[in-house]
């Protein structure tokens, strides 16, 4: 059902025209007379923006979808959406890649006896399912529904389906279930959901294991919040973790502790607080007495931290007015997970709840999500032949359960296994029937990621072949099984529910903005002393893990691994290691030296019952006895189940390290991890020398000063805010049709990214990120060397590359000190239908041409066109680049330098402003704000 019809049915739009629009596929060769006009007010050849919601991870950020010729071509964060406030992470950007993914499932598939899949019709599939449902009921088997995190009306429909067909709806399965945290909140605070942590208001943030920037609950939200913290000198952020995560890299202080010792640390913090009068009153003496005893020396011994570090931590905690503690992520992914979560919750209760640092009114909606214990339970039932039809929808339990659970084998015991998915994965490989699901941009729907927020899904593209939205599929199943269905189709069902739930005004708002936000009342939360006492009494704090240990760390690029099939995300390098394709194991430089390993040497790590062999990447700053494995490089990223919490275990301890002597070629995109003292990101020491960066004083030049009439497009990048999340990179790829070239070209040094994140490590292993893109220099070295004027400086300060004039001498690239020009080594073709993921405002470059960042010339053009209609100049904030738009941290600002009122003018005249390689006299148009 298209938008107009849908709105009409909701009574939001009047008019009767039926639409049969049809974009011109051959655009260049044909002009198409549509039957009836396209949607009201849409001018052919121009863009429209449709609100929607991102379904790439459970955070459900709000989207604005750019539509051209009836195709979504770009996703942007919805600036007003309460979850992401305009930002969108790289996975969100890549959601379009999923939409156009060549391997998308297109028809229902049935597994043959020989294991091969055969396409069948929906009717056949549904018949098969209903028959199997019936059969298992007769056999006394239980039919079950297992799904990933589900919210909104879809959840209601599933409930309805399960009720009427007597299917048991299992607890939802999420690889990052935060089970330990939820358990502790349930025990101590009587809350089933996870709170929103109000990082932006804290003056001291201590994060233990929680990877706020990568995968923790709502990464875009926390990236935005954490960047304000990082940008403010008066507020402090300490991160404690055994390995080296992007979150750790961005904290003001990153403390390395022994894995498994987080509980000991928290315990000591609790003890330290117990003596403070300020906190004394907040909890009973009984509870305090129940705490196991500890002291500074024991804690230092257990955690591996220096006593001074611990004391500093405590003193900061004492002095802070609004301290906030967040534990989670891999801090709970070991056998001490329960104490960590409980102590953490207790500490949060003491220090953060009083100033509402934990916001349960905007709680993350996790009430239906289970844990691995639920999966274990399912496994047992399967093994006992008690399960009939098993539906697995939008989740991948086979991959995310420990191998020794044997889920793969147990699955075979169900009478019929039905998988609902958009792309094949480890779980669908075990399914008898695979039903293709429509993408979030192909279907109507709503989501409720947080209490009080309803996000809208609407069909912006038509579903691929026979793929169906889950709602439609369920309704069809209901129809088939019971002969009646609550609504003709999913859109109708949604409308029934919405009309019941929302007022007309609310509906209008939902359609207009793409979301509804009704702030919920803050629930009254108090510490249940009795339950807490019971929990504490039962608590067993075990010894930290035996070193050397391996951490299976989540990845910013693939979340829990679900986005790994999107090639775009492999093309964008991991921000810390700069490895793009393939898998690896991060090893500390000292360990590598000891074992005589270099980047790419293969290392086998093993215990008695676990082993993994990966090429090595030396990670500066990583602790000596720790190895870090990105979650998506392992076939089974879970090593066990915590029996107390149901949390997935993500550590392997007591490892043996055996170099195998083999060498792999790793696509490491960084030529060097160090700046070699070049001051690309000036260090505080360098800054103290007076005006070190402007040491050449006012520029003396033989050349005329550049003159600009109306515009000088300029960018400022605040390195203090930049966290290296690479959202800008993904955004640039999609906006500018940048070719995705694959591993072999990456190995040859031929990546095509117009914008890249350069990590530079200092000798202490601390890292700073430098986003590098075309600097649009006033005195651009690339321009003068082009023999044919393909590179030139335009009157608005842009360094323009005229693709079709380029003959491909590559001299410009050689002469670019920033090395941001990209040459098309091949004719880069995208597998259909990925070729439709193409911004029509940007030409697709052919082989032999140089290309580079244009400052999103196409966007400037649109803004100027609009301004010209009103006979004025483009105003500040009216145009921004794709990278700046998507940045969750708001680190990138774009604007017209000639406008003295503009934000960009203010930033470029800031004390912190500098330009990279300024001594070369290129006078870049990109200004950086150095970190302090």
């Amino acid at each position: 059902m298209d938008r107009r019809q849908f709105l009409q049915m909701l009574g939001l739009v009047s008019g009767a025209a039926a639409l049969s629009s049809c974009g011109s596929e051959k655009g260049q060769k044909e002009l198409v007379s549509l039957l009836v006009p396209a949607e009201d007010g849409i001018v052919p050849g121009t863009e429209t923006w449709q609100p929607s919601t991102c379904c790439e991870c459970p955070a459900h950020c709000g989207l604005l979808t750019r539509v051209r010729e009836n195709r979504p071509v770009k996703l942007e964060g919805n600036p007003r959406h309460p979850v992401n406030r305009g930002g969108l992470c790289l996975r969100g950007q890549a959601a379009l890649w999923r939409l156009y993914h060549p391997q998308r499932l297109q028809t229902p598939l049935k597994r043959q006896a020989d294991g091969r899949l055969q396409a069948i019709t929906w009717a056949q599939a549904l018949t098969e399912i209903t028959e199997a449902l019936q059969l298992s009921r007769q056999q006394g088997r239980k039919n079950t529904w297992l799904a990933g995190r589900t919210s909104g009306t879809l959840s209601t429909l599933i409930e309805e389906l399960c009720d009427s067909l007597d299917i048991e709806r299992l607890a939802e399965f999420e690889p990052f279930s935060h089970a330990a945290l939820r358990q502790s909140y349930r025990l101590l605070l009587d809350q089933a959901d996870l709170p929103r942590y109000r990082v932006e208001q804290a003056d001291l943030l201590i994060t233990i294991g929680a990877d706020l920037l990568e995968t923790f609950l709502s990464p875009v939200d926390y990236t935005a919040q954490a960047s304000t913290l990082a940008a403010d000198q008066k507020r402090h952020w300490m991160h404690l973790e055994p390995h080296y995560s992007l979150t750790g890299a961005n904290a003001d202080d990153r403390l390395v502790l022994t894995p498994g010792s987080e509980g000991a640390l928290l315990l000591w913090l609790l003890h330290s607080l117990a003596s403070q009068s300020r906190y004394q009153s907040r909890w009973s003496q009984t509870l305090q007495d129940l705490l196991p005893s500890t002291d500074l020396a024991a804690t230092a011994g257990a955690t591996g931290l220096k006593p001074q570090q611990l004391q500093e931590l405590v003193s900061r905690l004492m002095q802070a007015k609004k301290p906030l503690l967040i534990v989670g992520g891999i801090a709970t992914g070991h056998r001490n997970g329960q104490p960590v979560a409980l102590f953490g919750a207790l500490l949060q209760r003491l220090i953060a709840l009083p100033w509402a640092g934990l916001d349960f009114s905007a709680a993350e909606n996790y009430s239906r999500v289970g844990s691995l214990l639920d999966l274990k339970d399912l496994n047992q039932q399967l093994a006992a032949d008690r399960i009939g039809v098993l539906f697995v929808s939008r989740c991948n339990p086979v991959r995310h359960s420990p191998t020794d659970l044997g889920l793969k084998a147990a699955l075979a015991k169900a009478t019929l296994r039905v998988g609902l998915a958009d792309l094949a994965d480890d779980t669908t490989d075990q399914m008898d029937l695979i039903l293709p699901l429509a993408h979030g941009l192909e279907t109507w729907g709503d989501t409720e990621p947080r209490r009080g927020i309803v996000g809208l899904l609407q069909p912006i593209a038509s579903p691929r072949q026979q793929a169906l939205s889950e709602g439609d599929l369920l309704l069809k199943l209901l129809q088939q099984a019971t002969g009646k269905s609550p609504a003709a189709d999913w859109a109708g069902y949604l409308q029934q529910n919405w009309q019941k739930r929302f007022s007309r005004a609310q509906l209008g708002q939902l359609m207009e903005d793409g979301y509804l936000f009704e702030p919920q009342p803050q629930p009254s939360i108090r510490l249940d002393q009795a339950r807490a006492a019971k929990a504490l009494r039962n608590l067993q704090l075990q010894a930290p893990l035996t070193l050397p240990a391996a951490v299976i760390a989540p990845s910013i690029r693939s979340f829990d691994g679900r986005s790994r099939s999107l090639e775009l995300l492999s093309e964008i390098p991991d921000p810390l290691t700069t490895i793009s394709y393939g898998s690896w194991m991060a090893v500390a430089p000292q360990t590598a030296d000891r074992l005589r390993l270099r980047d790419g040497n293969e290392l086998q790590i093993k215990t008695a019952d676990w082993q993994s062999t990966q090429p090595v990447r030396i990670q500066p700053g990583l602790a000596t006895e720790i190895l870090a494995l990105p979650m998506d490089s392992l076939p089974a990223p879970v090593t066990g189940i915590d029996p107390l919490t149901g949390e997935a275990l993500r550590y392997v301890e007591g490892l043996q390290l055996n170099p195998t002597g083999k060498l792999h070629r790793l696509p490491i995109l960084a030529g060097s991890p160090s700046q070699h003292g070049r001051g690309l990101i000036p260090k505080p020491v360098q800054r103290k020398k007076k005006n070190d960066l402007q040491h050449h004083g006012p520029r003396a030049s033989f050349y005329p000063e550049p003159e600009y009439e109306n515009y000088r497009w300029t960018m400022a990048i605040d390195l203090q805010r930049c966290v290296g999340c690479s959202a800008c990179v993904a955004s640039c790829y999609i906006e500018n049709n940048v070719p995705v070239v694959g591993a072999s070209d990456h190995l040859a040094g031929r990546e095509m990214s117009w914008l890249r994140i350069e990590p530079f490590y200092d000798k202490h292993g601390r890292v700073d990120f430098l986003p590098m893109l075309c600097q649009h220099c006033n005195y651009a070295p690339c321009e003068a060397v082009c023999p044919v004027y393909a590179a030139y400086h335009n009157p608005e300060g842009l360094n323009v590359q005229v693709y079709n004039r380029c003959v491909g001498t590559r001299y410009c690239s050689n002469n670019c000190p920033y090395k941001v020009r990209r040459f098309n080594w091949w004719q880069h073709k995208r597998t259909p239908p990925l070729d439709q993921l193409r911004n029509p405002d940007v030409p697709v470059r052919s082989k032999g041409m140089m290309e580079k960042c244009t400052f999103c010339l196409q966007r400037i053009r649109i803004a100027k066109d609009r301004a010209k209609d009103d006979k004025r100049l483009v105003q500040d904030g009216e145009v921004t680049t794709a990278c700046a738009q998507s940045c969750p941290a708001g680190a990138i600002v774009f604007g017209n330098l000639l406008d003295k009122e503009s934000k960009i003018y203010r930033l470029t005249h800031s004390q912190r402003a500098y330009r990279v390689l300024a001594e070369l006299g290129t006078e870049p148009g990109v200004h950086y704000l150095r970190p302090e």
Binding site: A670, V788, R805, G808, N814, K819, W825, G848, L917
Partner: protein, 430 residues
């Protein structure tokens, strides 16, 4: 001074070289042609698939192709040096080499001229590089060193061709007289009907002198301009003022080495020992020694300058050259170009043809490597350490390089059978 018998003897001896080709010669032609065709096939493949078949990448956007270009332009130089500069200085030993050297200049330029085309990403648009009135109303960027290159190389090519042809005219007339039939007719037409009357000679001498005068500054300027392709850029390792003299000296070094490489076997095979005496070869060897000293000096200056400047980028660049991933090539280059030629201070070695021949081959290798080291290492380590990266030539690049040698030798082999390899007229005059 001359009598009939010696005149006749010169004509006979020189034209004897143009007699029916031997089997060995045909085999050489066939082999050279095959290698050349192989190179062309690889080039076609590169055009069809894209530059990706070459090993060049980011940041090393120039590799073997530009190395080859500079190498071949360098080879071309000594031809002009010998024919024009030595003509003006009236160096007597010039006569032994000038024709072969001029031919070498032209063939090397033809080969060199291919490489800018081969390295173009979109070679089918190469005409964009020439300033001509067009419907796009767009000209070329005369501020770009690559346009200077277009002008320098095409000027050099045309001037050398004219010079070569003018030098050939009387000899063509001689061949026309001695060759009967159709072939003779062609030679006659090519000789423009030269009869050698006083009118013709009078203008001819003037012309030859003027052409030599015009060509002389080209010896210095063409390779200077080629060096500015690098020196005008911003890349550490390229951006230096000594490049022009350094390149010119290098060009002459490689050119004289190539002359020796070609002339020693040619002298032997075509039995021209009388006309190319050892003393003349020794003179050439002295030029080689001189230019090698200049080049060696430039190596020292370059390294010294980098570390004296205290410029981080330069220092890292030159540290990388001598001690980095390409250090082997660097040290081979230093040995071949600056150390081994020092042995020519010993007079006996200067007169030892076998030694000279081997040395000239080594200098050629060294000079090729010099260009490779300059082009590649500079790009591999420039300003932004994140963008550092190494380069390894692909088989396509190696094949096309081999093809370029194939073309050069093919042309040279054809030359020795088609045109008199020594200037008969000048020999007579001597």
């Amino acid at each position: 001074m001359q009598n009939t018998s010696s005149t006749e003897q010169i004509e006979q001896d020189v034209l004897a070289a143009m007699s029916r080709p031997s089997r060995c010669y045909l085999a050489c032609i066939f082999f050279a042609g095959l290698v050349f065709l192989g190179g062309m096939a690889l080039w076609s493949r590169q055009i069809a698939l894209g530059m990706g078949v070459a090993g060049i990448s980011h940041p090393v956007g120039w590799g073997v192709y530009i190395t080859d270009f500079v190498f071949w332009v360098g080879i071309a130089h000594s031809g002009t040096l010998i024919s024009a500069v030595l003509y003006i200085f009236r160096a007597r030993f010039r006569t032994s080499f000038n024709r072969a050297a001029e031919a070498m200049t032209i063939f090397a330029l033809m080969v060199a001229g291919l490489f800018p085309l081969i390295h173009l990403g979109r070679v089918w648009l190469a005409y964009f590089l020439f300033p001509y009135p067009n419907q796009r109303q767009l000209w070329v960027n005369f501020r770009s060193p690559l346009v200077w290159d277009v002008f320098a190389v095409s000027t050099y090519m045309l001037v050398s061709l004219v010079f070569f042809f003018v030098g050939l005219v009387p000899d063509l007339a001689i061949v026309a007289r001695r060759r009967p039939g159709f072939v003779g007719k062609i030679y006659r037409i090519a000789s423009l009907g030269w009869v050698g009357n006083s009118q013709q000679w009078r203008h001819y001498t003037k012309l030859y002198f003027f052409l030599a005068a015009f060509a002389t500054p080209l010896v210095a300027s063409v390779h200077s301009i080629v060096s500015w392709d690098f020196a005008v850029s911003i890349v550490p390792g390229w951006h230096t003022t000594i490049f022009a003299p350094y390149f010119v000296a290098g060009a002459i070094l490689s050119g004289t080495a190539m002359v020796i490489t070609l002339v020693i076997p040619m002298r032997r095979l075509l039995r021209l020992e009388t006309y190319i005496p050892i003393s003349h070869i020794e003179s050439i060897a002295k030029i080689l020694l001189l230019t090698s000293l200049i080049v060696g000096f430039a190596y020292v200056v370059e390294q010294g300058l980098a570390f004296y400047s205290g410029n981080l980028y330069e220092m890292e660049q030159f540290r990388f050259r001598a001690l980095g991933d390409y250090r082997l090539l660097f040290w081979i280059m230093v040995s071949c170009n600056a150390i081994l030629p020092l042995t020519l201070f010993v007079g006996r070695l200067r007169r030892n043809l076998a030694y000279l021949f081997i040395l000239s081959l080594l200098v050629n290798v060294g000079m090729w490597l010099e260009r490779f080291v300059i082009v590649v290492t500079s790009l591999a380590r420039d300003f932004d350490p994140y963008a550092w990266g190494n380069y390894t030539p692909s088989l396509t690049e190696i094949g096309i390089t081999a093809g370029s040698f194939g073309l050069f030798f093919l042309l040279f082999l054809l030359f020795i059978k088609i045109l008199p390899v020594l200037s008969i007229t000048e020999l007579k005059e001597r």
